[in-house]
Symmetry: C2
Subunit: 118 residues, 2 copies
């Protein structure tokens, strides 16, 4: 497993007992942008169809306006698009992770010395 700051800095944006945004939702947004489809995005992350739709629904209800627009059915099984707010929410989420990593990089390396050598 490659260890990246994104695997380490798992920021959550709490909302209503759950999270409006977090590592899984951010990855899903990126995958929807890449694939143009919620189900294909879910598959690319080994996420069930049901779970991918649930996460999209949670995001769409938590933010001021939807982050993903889906059109169901039709030839090709419909598709999905990340909205302008979706791109903004994702960009700023990644910025939070990057900002945290600037102060965590050194103490994180120190922390690893507590572990067994890999």
């Amino acid at each position: 497993m490659e260890v990246t700051p994104r695997k380490i800095v798992r920021i959550g944006i709490p909302r209503g007992g759950g999270y409006a945004m977090g590592p899984g939702k951010a990855d899903l947004l990126e995958a929807i942008h890449a694939t143009g489809s919620i189900s294909a995005a879910g598959r690319s992350l080994s996420m069930s169809y049901r779970r991918a739709w649930l996460l999209v629904d949670e995001m769409n209800h938590a933010f001021a306006t939807p982050l993903v627009e889906a059109h169901l059915g039709g030839a090709g099984g419909g598709g999905a698009r990340v909205t302008d707010l979706g791109h903004e929410a994702l960009r700023r989420y990644r910025a939070l992770q990057d900002q945290a990593w600037t102060v965590l990089r050194t103490p994180y390396q120190d922390y690893l010395r507590l572990l067994k050598p890999e």
Copy 2:
């Protein structure tokens, strides 16, 4: 739900495809210290007995020496103790969260403006 920096800054210490330390394991260590028992600690976090033991086992194998010493059975059903390294691992994990929060506090508040008013 009370929103605290600990709910927002969910740092993970990746190790071997999983995490050596993370929000759930840190809370469990605290609860073991408070209750003196792995099963009581798990219950206090609404965590199954099996899961609490699994998390302890993962931590004990990932760190240089065990973070929790359990003595099974006996009158009272045994007990558990957080070791010196366990206290150190927990203290430094909370310090990572606090350090990240110092730089995240303001951009996090800004991020909330993207959400629907609660």
